[in-house]
């Protein structure tokens, strides 16, 4: 078990380093950063001065190693626009993005688990087909488009909810709904297929042969086993939600990490962009790692290996 944990951890770390390198290189491949920071009207001398003072004249590996060294010690550099340094910025914005992701995932689990379980009780029945139709619709709709539709309907036509911003809880209703609708189908389908398998298992027959009540057979026996992969996937999904926050936060004008990334990309605030890529990548790796651990912990057969 210790060896397994150590191996998964090192693997996550390696992925994170790879992500940071790719982000770093792509940012520099997107154009001359010194030119973009200096602006279109800057003289060649200004551009050259900025290049030297920001260290952009050095070779890529040297730049990466210098940045990486500071990042490891917690210094993510200074923003070119915000007065705060990058670490402070991220510390301010991260909770909003994480909170939104957790809300979305929570709602998806709350809806997806019961729907998946009920569908599995009568596969291909009327209820199952109806739920599957909704799930396919939810999965097929791009979140940003669904977000715009919600804004038009609930924000503009009905005027029930604020269209943009992150000042009150009402601002979170629509983005949470979008995240939930995008994530719920995965949870629902995984629960459904897991439950169909588990309900066919011999131990379910044993549970019925013991005279246990239907609720106990379904929830205590079958669902417990069907949930193991669902919980693992849910952790990965949270990583995907946080990583995908750029689009959604931009649509709803929520001042989270994704919005910060979008802003900073637009004005070549490259220290912020680098740091956001690192943090989002880090969260994705962390949650994938947590997912592996949860899977191993929940399944007694894996726990002791």
């Amino acid at each position: 078990m210790v060896r397994y944990v150590a191996r998964q951890f090192l693997l996550s770390l390696a992925v994170l380093v790879a992500v940071s390198i790719v982000g770093f290189v792509l940012l520099r491949a997107s154009g001359d950063l010194a030119q973009r920071v200096a602006g279109a009207e800057a003289t060649a001398a200004d551009v050259a001065r900025i290049r030297v003072s920001y260290g952009l004249d050095k070779s890529l590996p040297v730049q990466y190693l210098e940045w990486g060294q500071r990042a490891v010690s917690g210094d993510l550099g200074r923003s070119l626009f915000f007065p705060e340094n990058v670490s402070t910025l991220i510390a301010q914005r991260l909770p909003i993005t994480l909170g939104l992701g957790a809300l979305g995932l929570g709602a998806a689990l709350l809806i997806g688990l019961p729907l998946g379980t009920l569908s599995a009780l009568r596969p291909n029945g009327l209820f199952d087909r109806a739920v599957l139709t909704i799930a396919v619709l939810g999965q097929a709709m791009p979140p940003f488009w669904l977000g715009l539709l919600l804004i038009i309907f609930f924000g503009l036509n009905l005027g029930w909810l604020p269209v943009s911003g992150s000042s009150s809880w009402q601002n979170l209703v629509m983005p949470t709904a979008v995240l939930a609708i995008a994530t719920m189908p995965t949870i629902m389908r995984l629960t459904r297929s897991g439950m169909i398998d588990q309900l066919r298992a011999d131990y379910v027959r044993t549970a019925r042969a013991k005279g246990l009540k239907p609720l106990s057979v379904v929830v205590k026996h079958a669902l417990r086993n069907a949930l193991i992969p669902v919980v693992a996937i849910a952790a990965v999904q949270l990583g995907a939600l946080v990583g995908g926050s750029v689009v959604l936060e931009t649509v709803f004008g929520i001042q989270g990490l994704g919005y910060l990334a979008w802003e900073s990309i637009n004005r070549a605030d490259y220290p912020v962009v680098q740091a956001v890529v690192l943090v989002l990548g880090g969260f994705y790796c962390l949650l994938t790692f947590v997912s592996d651990m949860l899977h191993a912990f929940l399944d007694p057969r894996l726990r002791e290996q």
């Binding site: 027959r205 246990l212 417990r224």
Partner: protein, 334 residues
């Protein structure tokens, strides 16, 4: 009549004209065709027959545990005089695990992989008795001891995969005994185990049956097992009972050609060291889809005659029954 007053002569289980039909791609499979038998108090009845003959289906039908889509019909199924055919699932679930214990073939898959042994034992007791957790735990420990599991308290917190096959089957047996049942239905309880473990588990079953005065309905394809355990043997073929007799009478002179064939297949029935190849019954079991006319065994029977195409009733031969036109011969001559 209430279930608590049981006269000595009343059978624990009485099944009359049981039918099971299952939907299948090629049509409706008529898997159990008019099965009838009784199980008396403290008696062991073995239902024998090759796989697919309907023996497990019969047991599942009695317990209302048939797979989805399967339909049962019967003249009557009664348990301790109570009509359980029309009792409904609610009443059946009260009896299952309480008065009726069930033992399955695969001890690994029959146990829930993510619940501890203790939890799986205690939950039966708490379902059927108004017991606190402590009492259920004591009972579980006691039963683990009864089935010969060393260090019961240690085993309680373990998961099924941490136990060997033999121990798992002992756990399944302990589970069936938690509520002091009157009847145990054991479906191939030794088939999935190593030969040495098979003998141990079989001995344990016989032992427990005597200790608790259980009526045991044992389903097996293994006549050698049946010969060691059974008071009475019921032979099934293609969904029908083809012979029923006391064990000693059955092995002394089986009346149905299929039963004779089965006994002939036993290695012990053939001369040891003679080098003679094992006997086999030629041919295969007929399709169970749709209705069948005449003797189901006639295609494989060495004694088949034109008359075997007619419907053959189960003949009463005085204390035993057989479904064969030739079956009355020995009795008639005697």
């Amino acid at each position: 009549m209430t279930t608590t007053t049981v006269s000595e002569s009343q059978p624990v289980l009485s099944v009359r004209d049981l039918h099971v039909r299952l939907p299948h791609r090629a049509g409706i499979v008529h898997a159990v065709r008019g099965v009838s038998f009784d199980l008396q108090r403290g008696e062991t009845v073995c239902i024998v027959g090759e796989s697919g003959c309907g023996k497990s289906m019969s047991a599942m039908a009695i317990l209302n545990l048939l797979p989805r889509g399967a339909k049962r019909e019967a003249g009557a199924v009664s348990f301790l005089g109570e009509d359980v055919l029309n009792a409904g699932e609610r009443r059946m679930s009260e009896l299952r695990g309480d008065k009726i214990g069930m033992i399955f073939q695969e001890p690994l898959t029959a146990l829930n992989p993510s619940l501890t042994v203790g939890e799986q034992l205690m939950e039966v007791f708490r379902r059927h008795r108004p017991a606190r957790k402590g009492e259920a735990r004591e009972r579980a420990l006691e039963m683990l001891g009864q089935v010969g599991i060393p260090n019961p308290s240690e085993r309680m917190s373990q998961y099924p995969h941490q136990l060997s096959g033999g121990l798992r089957q002992r756990v399944v047996i302990a589970m069936a005994l938690m509520c002091e049942p009157i009847m145990i239905i054991a479906d191939e309880p030794t088939t999935a185990l190593d030969v040495t473990i098979q003998a141990q588990i079989l001995r344990l079953l016989i032992d427990l049956k005597d200790r608790f005065g259980l009526a045991l309905l044992l389903i097996t394809h293994d006549l050698a097992v049946a010969s060691r355990v059974a008071d009475r043997i019921v032979v099934m073929y293609a969904g029908e009972v083809v012979e029923e007799a006391e064990t000693s009478a059955f092995f002394a002179a089986p009346r149905h050609p299929y039963a004779r064939g089965l006994i002939g297949c036993l290695p012990s029935a053939q001369a040891h060291g003679s080098g003679a190849p094992l006997q086999i019954i030629p041919g295969t079991v007929p399709s169970l889809i749709g209705e069948m006319r005449g003797c189901a065994f006639r295609e494989r029977c060495p004694e088949a005659e034109p008359v075997c195409r007619e419907t053959i009733a189960l003949r009463d031969l005085g204390g035993r029954r057989a479904r064969c036109v030739h079956a009355g011969l020995a009795e008639a001559l005697a």
